[in-house]
């Protein structure tokens, strides 16, 4: 994984970020903006109050498509769903047109290889395809597994040479629907193509901040123009990966590679909802035995939220101890929550210590600091669901 030798990849927006005065850092093999001139605190708060635009082109968008479509949308969707379901935890066959599902890429032990989005296109003529977005740091391995899994029934196309741009915050709906009229009618976790107009794009109402917002896949040649159009709106500011992390932490959303890894099951990670009854009953999940046992309560650790009640922020790697001083777990991500004005964290502890309100300690630089198990999200989600 050491990428110190490999040259960093760029996104279609890298030069634009530099021109905006961004501080660039290596992230998932890319040179990415960690913050712009406003700084993390201001960028975070701006996103919660207005609209922030994020370059997330390091992520892994891709398409799969049946080698032979029948022309019957229902049958084609069932066939393409059946091609990908063997390696993921979700019910893809059950997706309605235009629906996006958060799901898990599983290994044979029921551990998490990644978390991802799988969407059924809204357009009937695309019923033989799916849109799949995986994490940046894991995308090469994910793509290889997905391609191997769907072949020969379906073809695989990575489209991470395009730009993926997120617009998040309470004013995102007005900003985005000014460019894509009709985007305001999308419900949370749905998408559709906007082929007409200046910026042809795949527009999804989704995000990673807990706010209402959109994630937009757009061809590289349109990326800079689209990004500049967004920034020309005074409600919009560019937001770096620093604030993206503090926003998702407040929203209680796990970060793959930190709050989940190949040893962690979706049940341990608190993602039970991503392993639906239909898949458990069908019995063909990777790691089926483990996942069913964990559903039955055989769990040694679970992901919890923590409010750090005193002292320094507890960051990844900080030990979690019970009242008697015994180490019972570890923080997997943590930091200062700008919207709350206090330090928060996520970590893994045995289930008997996981009840909301349980008093624990986090060990920061050798010092025990009081912490309390807290409900997640730390900051309420503000997703917009249409009837």
């Amino acid at each position: 994984m050491s990428s110190s030798e490999a040259p960093l990849k760029t996104t279609p927006l890298t030069e634009t970020h530099r021109a905006l005065g961004a501080r660039m850092v290596p992230f998932a093999g890319y040179e990415m903006p960690v913050q712009f001139k406003d700084g993390v605190l201001t960028e975070h708060k701006w996103t919660r109050a207005h609209a922030g635009v994020f370059d997330v082109s390091h992520m892994g968008p891709s398409f799969i498509r049946l080698a032979k479509s029948t022309g019957d949308a229902g049958a084609d969707h069932k066939a393409i769903a059946a091609a990908i379901e063997p390696v993921i935890s979700g019910d893809i066959a059950g997706l309605k047109p235009g629906q996006i599902r958060y799901t898990i890429l599983l290994n044979e032990q029921g551990g998490m290889l990644d978390d991802l989005m799988v969407a059924r296109f809204a357009e009937p003529h695309l019923a033989d395809g799916l849109y799949i977005v995986v994490n940046g740091a894991t995308k090469d391995d994910d793509f290889a597994l997905i391609e191997k899994t769907v072949l020969p029934e379906a073809g695989f196309l990575r489209v991470d040479n395009r730009a993926l741009i997120a617009v998040q915050g309470p004013e995102a709906v007005d900003v985005v629907s000014a460019i894509f009229p009709g985007a305001e009618d999308l419900s949370f976790m749905t998408l559709r193509w906007f082929e007409q107009g200046e910026f042809p794009a795949l527009v999804a109402r989704s995000g990673y901040t807990g706010e209402d917002g959109y994630e937009i896949l757009i061809r590289a040649e349109h990326a800079v123009g689209f990004y500049q159009r967004l920034l020309a709106d005074e409600r919009v500011r560019p937001i770096g990966l620093g604030a993206r992390d503090s926003l998702r932490l407040e929203a209680g959303l796990p970060l793959y590679g930190h709050d989940a890894d190949p040893t962690v099951s979706p049940i341990e990670a608190g993602l039970k909802f991503a392993v639906p009854k239909s898949r458990r009953e069908r019995g063909d999940l990777r790691g089926q035995g483990r996942l069913i046992a964990e559903f039955g309560g055989q769990l040694s650790r679970v992901r919890v939220g923590l409010k750090v009640l005193e002292g320094a922020p507890a960051r990844e790697g900080a030990e979690i101890a019970d009242g008697a001083g015994k180490v019972i777990g570890v923080v997997t991500s943590g930091g200062f929550a700008p919207s709350l004005g206090q330090a928060i964290a996520m970590g893994f502890v045995p289930p008997e210590h996981a009840a909301v309100g349980t008093r624990l300690n986090v060990i920061v630089r050798g010092k025990a600091q009081a912490a309390e198990v807290a409900a997640m999200p730390f900051v309420p989600h503000r997703y917009v669901r249409k009837p």
């Binding site: 960690v34 913050q35 700084g39 993390v40 605190l41 201001t42 975070h44 620093g242 604030a243 992390d245 503090s246 002292g311 320094a312 922020p313 960051r315 930091g335 200062f336 700008p338 330090a343 630089r365």
Partner: protein
């Protein structure tokens, strides 16, 4: 005022040195949300971890720029850590240290030398 390559400033008054981090360091760290200061009375050796500055995204060590004994710390930073960003080279001071070797402090970079050093980064 004297400066180190670790971006600390030292203001000597008699044999007491006030120590903080430079405007450049504060800018690089970003928004400071927590400062852990040394205990009063602690003996510092040059290069010891003296304080920890936490920004939203990371924790950074601040190393003792001199030998001496901590005489006072800036307790106001515990409730207002943002002072480090707002006034890094004045109100955002970290500690006052009773200096063992004033000559060693005088030998550190002056502002001109520090500015030149920043130009090389």
């Amino acid at each position: 005022m004297r400066f180190t390559k670790d971006h600390e400033w030292i203001e000597l008054d008699g044999d007491v040195a006030t120590v903080g981090i430079t405007a450049y360091a504060a800018e690089q760290l970003g928004d400071v949300v927590f400062v852990e200061l040394p205990t009063v009375g602690r003996t510092l050796k040059t290069g010891d971890g003296m304080a920890v500055v936490e920004s939203v995204k990371a924790a950074s060590d601040v190393y003792a720029p001199l030998d001496g004994e901590v005489a006072a710390v800036n307790d106001a930073l515990s409730s207002n850590p943002e002072t480090v960003n707002q006034s890094p080279e004045q109100d955002g001071w970290f500690a006052k240290v009773k200096v063992a070797d004033k000559a060693a402090v005088e030998a550190l970079m002056d502002r001109d030398a520090y500015e030149k050093f920043l130009g090389t980064l």
